[in-house]
Structures are given as structure tokens and as C-alpha cells.
């Protein structure tokens, strides 16, 4: 339920009308390009105000998802805001706005980043090479594909095994695929589903060779491909990262970690559960 402040079935909210008349957009599309999120307003739900604009997406491939967003001020000639907006402070990532409960969600964003990550430790994967574990180059990353919707109460940390505790394959804020550069000029882009775990090195992103049949040439076809691909991995005893079963890392109390972020690692994939309102303190 997406309701601030009150209990009761959210289904009671719409008493008439056809979602088709609003462009069929009452429910967000589930997957979008990260670049589509840039420039969206950050909407304070209870105040009805746009409190910032999305400047950039903070992505940590080794964590399998978006850490948060850097922000621009809304006013004319507004520059960047110092504090990022952490995923843990977000109510929902939508196709037209990123929503927060109130403007105070922007306070102290750096300290709320998942696992104590630093905003400047994000990894830019654009133009990185994607390689299969049998040594075949698949292409270069042109964009990352982000799951949108109501952000899970656990901020994307509640994974167990290949899926979340709710059995979903991904949660809002997870990066579930890459858009690859067209293999040749004039050809369409391709969309690569990501596995639950992903080996990441300096400029190479390694995926299982079995992914190739699941590559699609339309974004709208990617979601079922991700589910099918991940289901296929579930039958192959995939290895989880050693720290994946541990508790969520607390923000560091000492000096910050290397600005280049964690080294090569693997990550668990993830989809959106409903978050209660008001959002729980995390």
C-alpha cells in the first residue's frame, strides 16, 4: 500500500475511472534506463513540493543496485546539492518522479547510503566491457536498467539466496540489466539481463555464458528475460558472495574507505515489496 498516514486498503483509493484514460500509467513501468531518471523531480509526498532534481544515479555494481541519487537544486541556475539522496530515504522510484515522505528525507543523505558506501565511491560502468565466463565479449554498457516502484523497507538488503525473502527476483532500486551498445551502426541496442551475482573488475563485467539466449532487443522484453534467466541460474547452484548472509553493514565510524569503493566482488540480485507508510526508520 502506498498510503501515508492511514491504514486501510489502498484499493479503496480509486473509486472510479479507467487507468487507461491516464495513459495506463497508474502503475509504473517496472524497468527504466538510469538515464531516464536523471532530471526527474524529487517529490515530497506530504508537502506536494519538488524539493530537488535528480542529477545522477549512484550505482554500485558489487551491491547489485542503486545506492541513491545525487541532486540538483530546483531553482533557476540551481547547482548540485552536497548531500545525496540515499535509497533508504526514498519511498518510491517512479517514471515521472522520485518520491520521499517529506523534505527532511534529504537530510544527512551521505550517512544513509547503503552499507556505509560513499557517494564518490560509485562505479561508472558506462562503456565497460561485458564478458562471459567462457571468454566471449558481449558488448559495451550503454546504460543500466533500474527496477522502479515502491522501495523495499529494507533498502534492498533483505536478500537471501538468489531472491528476496518475499520470493521476488528484484526490488525497486536494483539494477537488473544493462543496455548494450549496438553491435554495429544502425543496429538496435540490446538488453542484457544480469544474474544474481556479478563479477566485477576494473573495466570488465563478467556474466555467465548462459545469458546470451536471454538478451533482448527491446527494453519491454527484458523483465521476463531477467526472471527466466535468473530462474535458470537457480538450477545451477550459483555461488553467493561470502558476506551476503551477514547483517547490513553499519555506516563506518572511522575514516572512510577507499574512494574507489570495494574491490571486485559479487552481488545478489533482487524486486519490490510493499513498504509500509510512514516509512520505517532505517
Amino acid at each position: 500500500m502506498n498510503r501515508p498516514g492511514k491504514a486501510g486498503p489502498a484499493g479503496s483509493a480509486v473509486i472510479a475511472g479507467d487507468p487507461g484514460k491516464t495513459g495506463g500509467k497508474l502503475m509504473p513501468r517496472e524497468l527504466v534506463r538510469a538515464t531516464e531518471l536523471v532530471g526527474l523531480p524529487v517529490l515530497s509526498i506530504t508537502e506536494g513540493e519538488a524539493v530537488a532534481d535528480i542529477k545522477d544515479v549512484l550505482y554500485a555494481p558489487e551491491r547489485g543496485g542503486v545506492l541513491g541519487f545525487t541532486l540538483n537544486r530546483r531553482r533557476t541556475l540551481g547547482g548540485p546539492l552536497k548531500e545525496p539522496l540515499a535509497l533508504a530515504s526514498i519511498f518510491a522510484i517512479g517514471p515521472d518522479a522520485v518520491t520521499v515522505a517529506a523534505a527532511t528525507a534529504l537530510d544527512g543523505g551521505a550517512s544513509k547510503l547503503r552499507g556505509g558506501a560513499r557517494a564518490d565511491a560509485q562505479r561508472n560502468v558506462l562503456a565497460n566491457q561485458v564478458l562471459t565466463d567462457t571468454g566471449t565479449a558481449i558488448g559495451q554498457v550503454a546504460d543500466i536498467i533500474v527496477a522502479i516502484g515502491v522501495v523495499a523497507a529494507d533498502g534492498g538488503e533483505g536478500r537471501s539466496g538468489g531472491t528476496y525473502d518475499d520470493g521476488r527476483v528484484w526490488h525497486a532500486g536494483d539494477v537488473v540489466g544493462y543496455e548494450l551498445e549496438p553491435p554495429a551502426k544502425g543496429e538496435p541496442p540490446r538488453f542484457l539481463p544480469l544474474p544474481y551475482t556479478l563479477s566485477v573488475s576494473g573495466e570488465i563485467l563478467m556474466v555467465p555464458a548462459g545469458v546470451e539466449p536471454y538478451i533482448r532487443d527491446e527494453l519491454s522484453a527484458l523483465a521476463p528475460a531477467v526472471e527466466a534467466f535468473r530462474a535458470s541460474l537457480g538450477r545451477t547452484a550459483e555461488t553467493r558472495p561470502a558476506d551476503a548472509t551477514g547483517p547490513v553493514a553499519a555506516p563506518p565510524t572511522g575514516p572512510p574507505s577507499s574512494p574507489t569503493g570495494p574491490g571486485p566482488t559479487t552481488t545478489t540480485g533482487a524486486t519490490g515489496t510493499t513498504r509500509t507508510w510512514p516509512p520505517e526508520e532505517r
Binding site: A13, M27, L43, G48
Partner: protein, 147 residues
Amino acid sequence: MTTLSELVGRTVVSRSSADPLGNLRTLVIDGPRHAIVALQIGKGRKSRFVELGDLRAVGPDAIVVDDESLVHEAVGPAQEATAKGKLDVLGAAAFTSTGVALGAVTDLLLDLDRGLISSVLVGGSEFQGEAVLGFGTFALVVDVPES
């Protein structure tokens, strides 16, 4: 049930003097309470406001207040923004709490006895007043069911 579009332009009259005080421009709304707080009379910076609780009657041809002394200048951020023309619910952008733009608010159905918004019309869709979560200069935000 009254709609806001029916009320807009209706003359506000003082019962004590029978003087017309101006025409209703829009309503000041408390989004999280989905409540009607006040009425804006006239437009622009010279517009004035009357609290909903100070109305004597809302008739088919006029809105009546006991005395002109109940009509005042903008008080508080919401009324000030309304006076500046930044906060008019008719035509306001409507968003869901999940970040989906729905279009512009076309009308409100009002429960004036209880001082509440009964429902919000956005294009061809109607949302219960209780679905309103917030209202500000950027948007009116409504709750929608998840799939």
C-alpha cells in the same frame, strides 16, 4: 455534493452590511488532512481569505459571512502562496505517491459540511478525498492501489 468549479466565481457577501466582498477564486487545502481550510476571495496579492469555519452559508447564488471583519489578508505559507497564484488546486499537477504523473486536477467534489474533499477528478479518473496525501506548489499527491 458541491464541486469547486461550481463555487469558483460565486460572490461572497457580508450578512451584516449586505456588501459583496468579492468572488471566490479558489480554496486553501490541507493536503495530508484532505481538508478545506479557507476560501480565497479575489485574485492576486490583494486577495483576501476567509476561514471555512467562519462561513455562515454556502448558497446557490452567494457565499455568506456574518461580517467583513472575518475576511483577512493571507496568513501563513499556504495562504501566501495562494495569494501569489502558486497554489491553485484546479489545474494542479497530480502525481501518485509512486511517482507517476496523472495529469491535471480538473475538479474537486466538496463535503462542505465536514470541510473535507470528497473526491478529486483528474482527467477521466476520480480519487477519493482520503487518497489525497499532500498538496503543494508542485503537485497534488494521491495514493493509488498497487498491482
